[in-house]
Amino acid sequence: MKALRVVMKKELDRVFHDKKLVFSLFILPAVMMIALYGLMGMLAGQMMADIAEHESIVYVVNAPSDFKNLVLEDSDLVWNDAAADQVTALKEEVRAGEADLMIVFPEQFSESVANFQAGDPVPEIKTYYNPADDYSSNARDIFGEYYFPEYEEQLLKERFSDLSVLTPFVVDSAEGQEEESSIVTNEGQAEGQFLGMLFPYLIVMLLFTGPMSLGVDAIAGEKERGTLASMLITPAPRRDIVLGKLFSLEILSFLSAIVYALSMIIAIPFLAGDLTSSASGVKSLVNVTSVLEIILVMVALVFLYVAVVATLSVRAKSIKEASSTVSVIYILVVVAGVMTMFSGNTDPALWRYEIPVYGSALCIQKVITGGLTLPAFLVSTLVTLALGAVLTWMITRAFDDERVVMNA
């Protein structure tokens, strides 16, 4: 047991006495994550602000005066009346980005609407815009979602005076109901769903990077450099040497995972751009049970990851061989993380939680979106721990095998 502590301390010293390693393992990822998210948030915010500030340049051919009034009453866009023979030239302007949108009403639009008889062709308004241009598509969206529907309603009122003629029935009318129930998502939930989609993937993936970079070096690297044998010729029990290494790897990997998780929580508000709403979304995360659940899932996962990386490293004859097999496992881990992104909102069957890594990712997802059941949590965590324990036991056995430790 004493030897275990001695080995563990050395492995931790190896990292903590090395300023460069501490920086690259703990500080750089956090700084990068926050900077990256901050930059993404800033750019996105700037773009939105820029679009919102931009005054749309709109050309309208054969504009009915009631439509023009309706639009200009509420918007400060640049309205240009245009004639029918300008259409071809204006299309070019839209394409070139000099104009944002052209709307072409048929001639005598108001008359054909007013004199409409059942069976007549329905008059058609045409719009021309450039979907690849943000200003242009934004202008089209404003008309499509706002001014056209409003104009339509206005014309229908003129035609029918009472619009309920057009409403044979309603579903879930707001009357007599709590108003909130008709709101599909509130901001906190939306935030939770965003985190719920991203978090399991990021945690499951980032947790692996610690064991991957440290574990291969600590085991395959020591074998290759011939420093492992120097410990094997001391009277220290081999089991203590292995476990000392594994424990220290687990501690380091878990610390790096915490750094990643914290920097993500700090960084996400930057991405969302709006600090207050995101803070409320994160608040739903920060309650004792869910934090505890996530930590337990992470601890179990780190235990498994370290055992997997160590198993592969101990068998490998060189760092190169170890890294290549470990990176294959890494791809599987990423796939498991990605799969949870597409698992949708349905409750997964319990057996899915038995799948190592994927089950843990599901657990994290369910903690964030709410609704992780105790059986699901237990199944996933126990399977992960059991698998890690079996592998750890096999590694300690492998250390007694001269073909493994001495490549003999």
């Binding site: 030897a3 001695v6 010293d13 190896r14 090395d18 020591e222 420093t227 010729i233 009277p235 001269e402």
Partner: protein
């Protein structure tokens, strides 16, 4: 064949200096080669007999040299004694303990150094001597005392806090020797201890080994350098292709082979025994 003569202690008492400290009985070590190794060694045989029925007994107060060309089986033999490898056949006892059954007790008594066992490049000699002292179960006071003694003897103090990575070959070797001796072992096993060292450093190492012998310890080295074996070793065992083909003091070996010097003796033995297998290797 010659055997070293030593008088049986007439009183039958257990005077430490007369006890046999390392006893190898009919050691055979066979490696299983993988495909890559078979290709490298240009053989279709998946089994490689590295040590073949080798017996040895060593007593305190002597320096014994295993002399042989590259690939003769010297390192393999030493690793078996150090409990890093298990004999395929035969038994080894060190200070009365079996290398398989009591491997931890064996390791406690030996200081082992080979070229392919290295000090961790990311740590300093001062850190490592402490680390290995602790793995040997020594208390802090003992470790400090041993560090002072060894670092002074080998002149390590100047670079004791530099990372091993930044040291020259000679400095590394000195540090490795000091670290391997932190627990003041009764048995010192050094595999090619002077290879790669400049003359001055090499001389420092051989002088130290003589001092250890005079202090009553067993010193077992391997070498492929004739002059080193001649000057340093009390007894020499010549191994070729895993077999011990001759053993004795320098004078005894020269007498048996009717040779002028050890090099002549070795070539004589090599031509009689070395042709058995082609891959015996050669001096480089």
């Amino acid at each position: 064949m010659l055997y070293w003569y030593h008088p049986i202690n007439p009183t039958g008492g257990s005077c430490l200096h007369e006890e046999i400290m390392i006893e190898i009985q009919n050691l055979t070590k066979i490696y299983k080669l993988n495909k890559k190794q078979m290709a490298e060694q240009k053989t279709k045989n998946a089994l490689k007999v590295a040590v073949d029925d080798l017996s040895l007994s060593l007593k305190p107060g002597e320096i014994y040299g295993l002399l042989g060309p590259n690939g003769a089986g010297k390192t393999t033999t030493l690793r078996c004694i150090a409990t890093l490898l298990k004999p395929t056949e035969g038994h080894i006892t060190v200070g009365g303990y079996d290398t398989i059954k009591d491997s931890a007790k064996v390791r406690r008594q030996i200081g082992f150094l080979t070229n392919d066992i290295k000090l961790d490049p990311q740590f300093s000699p001062a850190y490592l001597i402490r680390f290995f002292g602790q793995l040997h179960g020594l208390d802090d006071e003992t470790i400090r005392r041993r560090q002072e003694e060894l670092f002074t003897y080998f002149g390590i103090h100047d670079f004791e806090n530099k990372k091993v990575d930044e040291l020259s070959t000679g400095m590394k070797q000195k540090a490795a020797i000091a670290v391997s001796l932190v627990h003041d072992p009764d048995i010192i096993i050094f595999d090619e201890p002077t290879s790669g060292l400049d003359i001055i450093t090499a001389r420092g190492v051989t002088d130290y080994l003589k001092e250890m012998k005079n202090a009553g310890k067993i010193v077992l080295i391997s070498t492929h350098i004739m002059s080193e074996a001649e000057k340093l070793c009390d007894r020499i065992g010549i191994i070729i292709n895993g077999r011990k083909v001759c053993e004795g003091t320098l004078a005894q070996i020269l007498a048996e082979t009717h040779a002028q010097d050890l090099e002549d003796a070795f070539f004589h033995l090599y031509t009689t025994h070395g042709h058995l297998e082609e891959e015996g290797g050669a001096f480089r």
